[in-house]
Symmetry: C2
Subunit: 312 residues, 2 copies
């Protein structure tokens, strides 16, 4: 007789298969006190890339959509943007042209758009946009473009004593206003790119002002460096989706004891409008995952649902 399915499956949007069973086996291994694979609670640290791993980045990164909206609103007071790359391409909606300028140029443009704003004003602006802006293709809020199976995985890890962090190339101050509500990950567990800030006193009150300079572009080899700076411990669990996550995955895989290294493979063009190669390329990371036996999640095969049910 087949035992009945558990009343509450913490990974209910996952199909039964190798990916799901690897995740469950790992969590059981590290939480079973006395077992050789046991990991004490304070060492149970998990890191996740954001764009493409926890949420859709098609056709554009969420922060990119946000910045395009804000650039358009400010364009009349910045006539230079009409001719300067990548501002011109972004304003014209020419994503291919914008990305051809390089990720560095794009991040610089993001920083410039909000230069002079205080961190509080920026926080408020992001919150307002995330509460109201809708994806042009689907008409859904950007907060509903998250991958439901990964949101379940975060909650499952947290319920088993893991501290879950995001390590993203998106801006740390762009992520923090909404990641707690959407993923259940608190602000202090968000690591991301950051721009330079200046402390000053305005009208008798201290503020932090955004400068048009990038301090950290948190991608590739900067991800393990940022993990070291922010956490100071080597995580035991990591998930990414592109070559920009490879050093982070290698870094986590290199530790002693129980380790889990996972990759979201973008195979689901139908349900998720996801194609094999997302914005970042993934051929190197996929080859290394296969060679080293990391867990590769095939979106099409492994996920029962991709997005949460529509609520608005």
């Amino acid at each position: 007789m087949t035992p009945p399915a558990p009343a509450h499956d913490p990974l209910r949007s996952w199909n039964d298969g190798l990916a799901k069973s690897s995740l469950v086996r790992f969590v059981e291994l590290v939480t079973r006190d006395g077992s050789p694979g046991f990991v004490p609670g304070k060492e149970r640290i998990a890191v996740f890339d954001n764009d493409g791993t926890l949420c859709s980045e098609m056709p554009v990164l969420t922060q990119f959509a946000f910045t395009v909206d804000r650039m358009r609103a400010q364009a009349s007071s910045h006539p230079d943007w009409q001719t300067e790359a990548p501002f011109r391409e972004i304003l014209e909606g020419d994503m291919t042209g914008a990305f051809a300028c390089g990720m560095g140029a794009i991040v610089k443009a993001l920083a410039a758009t909000y230069s002079g704003m205080t961190t509080e004003e920026f926080d408020h602006d992001v919150t307002e946009w995330m509460n109201t802006a809708r994806h042009p293709d689907t008409g859904r809020l950007y907060t509903e473009r998250v991958f439901e199976p990964m949101v379940e995985l975060i909650a499952y890890l947290q319920a088993n004593g893991f501290a879950v962090y995001i390590v993203s190339a998106s801006g740390i101050d762009f992520l923090r206003p909404w990641t707690e509500k959407v993923y259940g990950i608190p602000r202090e567990q968000i690591i991301g790119s950051n721009i330079r800030l200046r402390y000053e006193i305005r009208n008798g009150s201290p503020v932090l002002v955004r400068l048009p300079a990038i301090e950290l572009f948190d991608e590739g080899v900067e991800k393990p460096v940022a993990i070291h700076h922010f956490i100071g411990k080597k995580p035991i669990f990591a998930f990414g989706d592109s070559d920009g996550d490879l050093p982070m995955l290698q870094w986590v895989a290199s530790g002693a004891g129980s380790r889990f290294t996972g990759l979201v493979h973008h195979t689901d063009s139908e349900r998720a409008h996801e194609i094999h190669l997302p914005i970042g390329r993934s051929d190197h990371v996929l080859a290394e995952a296969q060679a080293r036996g990391w867990t590769v999640v095939d979106m099409k095969e492994d996920w029962k649902d991709v997005f949460p049910p529509a609520t608005s």
Copy 2:
């Protein structure tokens, strides 16, 4: 009839007085659910400067003593240090001369001393030194130069749901190997100066290598910036001792709702070899603390004991 003293006073090394009663009143205020001053657990964030606030910085910062020891051990393979400032001054034990080169030069020398080492090697080296090195004047371990009343305060805050962070100009990688053991503050809640790291693969394994370049000198106006980057929330409680802590204290004091801002005033030349002006000056912060009614802790008056009882 005087009520009996509580069986277990969490602040037993504090004399009764304004400082102690302010601390207790504040903690009771923010933890009393339903009271107007109540602060939910996840907003209960406290930040402490380290040197001079949590431990003695007389006659030198702990990290400085560590670096002098290591520089001496390496001096024979660095003939250039015999003539170059501030290496020469440091090697000769001329602290006044070394500090005259400026804090920037000293931090640069610290970074150079460990250039090329991996973060794991550095961590191991710090741990070994902290376990064995003894203060030249007192013969006690450096881990026993901590201010007992402040260690009690950290535990008291943690027992009341606070997340306690250190925000120090000392190196983040110098502090992390011992702050959990000595203060009960975990690695991920340490913020400090950091040097540039480079991710590389050595013998097939990824490592982070220390470069001779300072990325952040976490002092003065950089402290609120670092708090914002690492925590992403404004703390409600802060303690410092010198002018380098003033922006951090102003930043914390400027938030809405319940706030506590405290200053350790170095008045105890007898017991603690502490003098009015520690390594950092404190005239500005003291004036502002008095003008704004922040809690000023007079070491001589407010602390029953300064250091923990000797154990070795």
